[in-house]
């Protein structure tokens, strides 16, 4: 009975770099190459034929082992390129492993994206049927849950309208509702909750929690959102460079992750793929400075900090009407504070092609100890150029906010205060 529902042993996945970059070659180019440089062409052909090609190998995953028990919700975290997505792709049978084995004891459904296979020309009703089938539901299952799905999504009125006329919020809500009503034994979820509005996200997290608690389903959850992982998963796997660095209690694993992934992000922001926007100007780095202008990775409540967002334009020309709107969300994923130069009327008309936008917080850092996320929206005028949700995660540590060393409890937000008594 106590057999693990997922057993992963020695799982590895290799990519050939040449393969990855190529993929799209025209026969024309190969022939042209052969004529232009016949000697080199023959040499490389001969090399590949006898298998002595010098292809660069890249192990996205190397020797992964872990087990998951039934009814467990397990989180997977790691920085970009740690192999999270590859692991999910192998578990959902989209790409085969190079070595190793996975045994899944139950019906699997994977949700790497909401609304896979949604067709813009089809109506909401038709897309529910199609998407349900793609996710592996039977027709009977879909029919019996159809009303619940529609109700959960809240788009009853537009159910017979083609989804191309939906707002993006409605689209996501409908898509997630279908996914939320799957009844697999094992549910594999990628960073899909990063879309949709906060309220709906909360509803989805609640639904997922309910699924693991009451129906004893097993959930594998990958996210950049540490708070969501903390809330949903008891155990977490930390991946680093394609290997399991740590498996254990979520709190401990997140602490280890934060330690090895400082708040300062020099080049890593450029490689983030989970971003949206025009992309003509992109966020390139993020760091926090203290009052002395030193970069810090530890944030204390009560400290004085400046948030710094590095950016670059694609064409190297100067940017216009540049501004960053940056949100800080708290432990239960609720937005706490939005900082934007538009509020303070400090938008700059022109900005250099490459630079750092600085937001000095002119007050003591007011949040109580806990996990916080920072997101950033880079605007030029009204256009969103680059948007990265959960751009950074940091743990606020206990600081001496009031300068008294007092042990502060039950106060998620700290306000500067002065008390006195006046005689009447």
């Amino acid at each position: 009975m106590n057999e693990p529902i997922i057993t992963v042993t020695g799982l590895s996945k290799k990519y050939n770099i040449t393969h990855q970059r190529g993929g799209y070659i025209a026969l024309r180019d190969i022939i042209a190459n052969a004529f232009r440089n016949p000697f080199r062409f023959l040499k490389s052909k001969a090399k590949s034929m006898i298998g002595r090609e010098t292809q660069e190998e890249f192990w996205a995953l190397k020797g992964i082992d872990f087990e998951v028990m039934k009814g467990e919700a397990i989180g997977i975290i790691g920085s970009n390129g740690a192999g999270k997505s590859t692991l999910l792709k192998i578990l959902s049978k989209i790409t085969p492993p190079t070595e190793g084995e996975v045994v899944l004891r139950g019906r699997v459904a994977s949700l790497l994206e909401v609304g896979t296979g949604f067709h813009p020309e089809l109506s909401g009703r038709e897309n529910i049927l199609l998407n349900g089938a793609i996710l592996g539901m039977t027709r009977k299952e879909i029919a019996s849950k159809f009303d619940d799905i529609v109700k959960f999504s809240g788009v009853e009125k537009f159910i017979d309208t083609p989804v191309k006329r939906y707002s993006s919020g409605m689209y996501v809500r409908l898509a997630f509702s279908v996914a939320a009503h799957m009844e697999p034994d094992i549910l594999i979820v990628d960073e899909v909750l990063a879309v949709g509005d906060a309220e709906f996200q909360k509803k989805c997290l609640g639904k997922m929690d309910e699924v693991t608690q009451t129906a004893h389903r097993t959930v594998l959850f990958v996210s950049h959102n540490m708070s969501a992982i903390q809330k949903l998963c008891k155990r977490t796997i930390l991946l680093e460079h394609g290997k399991v660095k740590m498996i254990g209690k979520t709190d401990e694993v997140i602490a280890a992750y934060l330690e090895s992934n400082p708040l300062t992000q020099e080049g890593s922001l450029k490689t983030r793929k989970d971003r949206r926007g025009e992309g003509n100007i992109k966020l390139s780095s993020f760091f926090v400075e203290n009052e002395k202008g030193e970069r810090v990775n530890n944030i204390f409540s009560g400290g004085l900090y400046t948030l710094c967002f590095g950016y670059e334009t694609k064409d190297g020309r100067e940017a216009h009407d540049l501004s960053v709107a940056s949100a800080i969300t708290g432990p239960d994923n609720a937005p706490l504070s939005l900082n934007w130069s538009r509020y303070t009327n400090e938008d700059k008309n022109t900005a250099p092609a490459k630079g750092i936008i600085r937001c000095e917080i002119r007050q003591k850092f007011p949040f109580a100890p806990g996990l916080y996320h920072i997101s950033a929206n880079l605007f030029s005028g009204e256009t969103i150029q680059d948007y990265i949700k959960n751009l950074g995660v940091f743990e606020v540590q206990e600081g001496n906010f009031y300068g008294t060393g007092a042990d502060i409890k039950h106060s998620p937000i700290l306000l500067e205060q002065h008390w006195s008594i006046k005689e009447e």
Binding site: Y24, V103, G117, E126
Partner: protein, 277 residues
């Protein structure tokens, strides 16, 4: 739920083609149904005449061919009214060429789904062909109308051969299509060559003219499996000539080989497809 026997999935590096694949396709038959349903629905959405397009295309081609080849060039048609003669050929031709080009694009056209969800990939070409088959059946209505118009009595017994002919056409188009779909992933040249190739193939298939026109060289035409199919279709339904069972047999073997090659390449490509797009 607890009494239900748990399905066990094992994921391992190598995956060779096995009978298990066929069973899996059967398990996913509902998805096959939905993909076909989607393609049919989407194809004729926001069009004024809807499914009539399935008839319109071969019908207009038939008229143009009848005027230029039948009337003006006086291409022989084995004693059958030329419109009926050419339409019979066109029906099979459109099924073949449509299925071939749809199938060859099946991996790239569905990459957003393929890279996100697992299902047996062979479902996609199957649904593409079934969609074409529906068009074929709709367009057949026009052939019947033509026969009434010309007061032509078909050989009803010939209808029994129809499933065999459809099977050969199916194997030929899917076999070739799967092969092309696999190449298409790596070399997008396919996209440019194929329409041209299909057009060329039309002229070396006896659609516009009877196979008998080639005289002693007609064996060259016989290399093309569609020659056998179209000849047999005319022989069976219009009674223009006895059915050449040997030719059909050769065609069936040839397309089975083609299908095997196609499936082999497709399965090979399918494994790493999600990694390279």
């Amino acid at each position: 739920m607890a009494t239900q026997k748990a399905e066990i999935t094992v994921i391992r590096p190598k995956k060779t083609f096995s009978l298990g694949d066929l069973r899996e396709i059967w398990q996913y038959k509902e998805l096959l149904y939905f993909f076909t349903w989607r393609d049919l629905k989407v194809r004729y959405k926001q069009t004024a005449i809807g499914v009539a397009w399935a008839i319109f295309q071969p019908f207009m081609t038939m008229i143009v061919f009848s005027v230029f080849f039948g009337r003006l060039l006086k291409v022989p048609s084995d004693g059958v009214p030329y419109p009926i003669f050419v339409y019979t050929g066109l029906l099979f031709w459109q099924f073949f060429s449509g299925a071939l080009s749809e199938t060859s694009n099946v991996l790239l056209g569905n990459q957003s789904i393929i890279t996100k969800v697992y299902f047996p990939r062979l479902i996609l070409p199957l649904s593409a062909v079934i969609t074409q088959l529906v068009d074929f059946l709709v367009a057949t209505a026009m052939l019947i109308a033509l026969m009434f118009y010309y007061h032509y009595t078909p050989h009803l017994a010939g209808l029994f051969i129809l499933p065999l002919l459809l099977l050969i056409t199916f194997l030929a188009s899917v076999g070739g299509g799967l092969f092309l779909a696999s190449i298409n992933v790596k070399y997008r040249d396919v996209r440019y060559i194929l329409p041209y190739f299909i057009q060329l193939l039309l002229y070396i298939t006896p659609v516009i003219y009877p196979a008998s026109i080639a005289g002693k060289y007609s064996w060259i035409l016989a290399i093309n499996p569609m020659t056998g199919v179209i000849k047999a279709a005319r022989g069976a339904i219009l009674g223009t000539e006895p059915i050449n069972w040997l030719l059909l047999g050769i065609s069936l073997v040839a397309v089975s080989v083609l299908m095997t090659i196609g499936v082999y390449f497709f399965k090979k490509t399918e494994r790493y497809f999600a990694d390279i797009v």
